[in-house]
Symmetry: C5
Subunit: 89 residues, 5 copies
């Protein structure tokens, strides 16, 4: 999985209806403590995330099985909101 920060929302009226009702959140992958990848990615939210949240994203087929219905055409899903990352000293 990857660490990421939610930086925005994406709106798309004309889309696959199987995505209807899902929040599509624009994110940037967190590479290190305060270093972010500048390539935007989009993840469907399944943890109640909001803009500014630090989140855990699962990718690929493992992502879509986070949802009850597994025919959702999403390859990135927010599966958790991060409380803390602790690094061994």
């Amino acid at each position: 999985m990857i660490l990421a920060k939610v930086v925005g929302n994406l709106w798309a009226t004309r889309k696959d209806e199987k995505l209807n009702g899902l929040k599509l959140m624009v994110c940037q992958r967190r590479l290190q403590e305060e270093v972010y990848d500048d390539k935007l990615i989009v993840a469907a939210d399944n943890a109640g995330a909001g803009v500014g949240d630090h989140v855990l994203i699962t990718t690929g087929s493992s992502a879509r099985i986070s949802f009850a219905r597994d025919n959702i055409p999403a390859d990135m899903v927010i599966v958790g909101i991060i409380d803390k990352v602790d690094f061994a000293e």
Copy 2:
């Protein structure tokens, strides 16, 4: 998922017949607001996209389940046409 811009069409008469009837669109991934990846990618359209449109692309096995028939050998599918991306200030 990734953000992308449709930049062209691809024509291939000799191809897997399971791709017949699909529009194969040449795209460039949108990395940031006005920054695009120059590596060309090809996505099957499932949202009625046209050249110049800003689109949402799903990749991998999650992509092909966007279609009713799931035996389509496509690993990138346009699943939405983007209205707006809003970034929190």
Copy 3:
């Protein structure tokens, strides 16, 4: 999917027998009009491609379902031979 050019053939007598009978073609991904990625990739042919052809490659699990038998251990398959790519002016 990705665009690529077939640059060679690969021969492997000792291989998974489920690959027997398939042409394994060495390719280079086409990044832009005349710009190629120098990292070699290998794709199983399912479109009748030959060396020098410009082809469309599907990757991942979506690739292997291009074949009638879906237990083929190939993660890149040539699914089309490109006639033309037209870019909007």
Copy 4:
């Protein structure tokens, strides 16, 4: 698969319940003997790993089948703790 070093733990109270009970470990991919990729990754532990351990990580759908239940939305799983890597001289 990839080689990695466990560098920390991740805590997320609000997460997909199918991840409950799993240790989510922050890792850095080991590129060479003593060279690590600085991009953080997160893997679910299925080998009893601890911080500081050198581990083997499987990615994608092959990762989640390491668990008895295959509906776990994890795309990286620690499947082994490395004793030794021996390179032919």
Copy 5:
């Protein structure tokens, strides 16, 4: 698929038992004729490969179906030992 060279063996006593009995081989991807990627990768052998061999590696879910049992948590499998790669002049 990718071309690679086997550069070593990996030993892991504490691992997913579904990996038991498999040779886990450390490899480097071959990018061009004599150019190798320095990022180490690990592939399960299914072609009788040895250190020094030039091999063909399949990745992702297509990799694990190379084995008779398809519940093997491996995302890279050696599916062939390369005799020859011939590039059109």
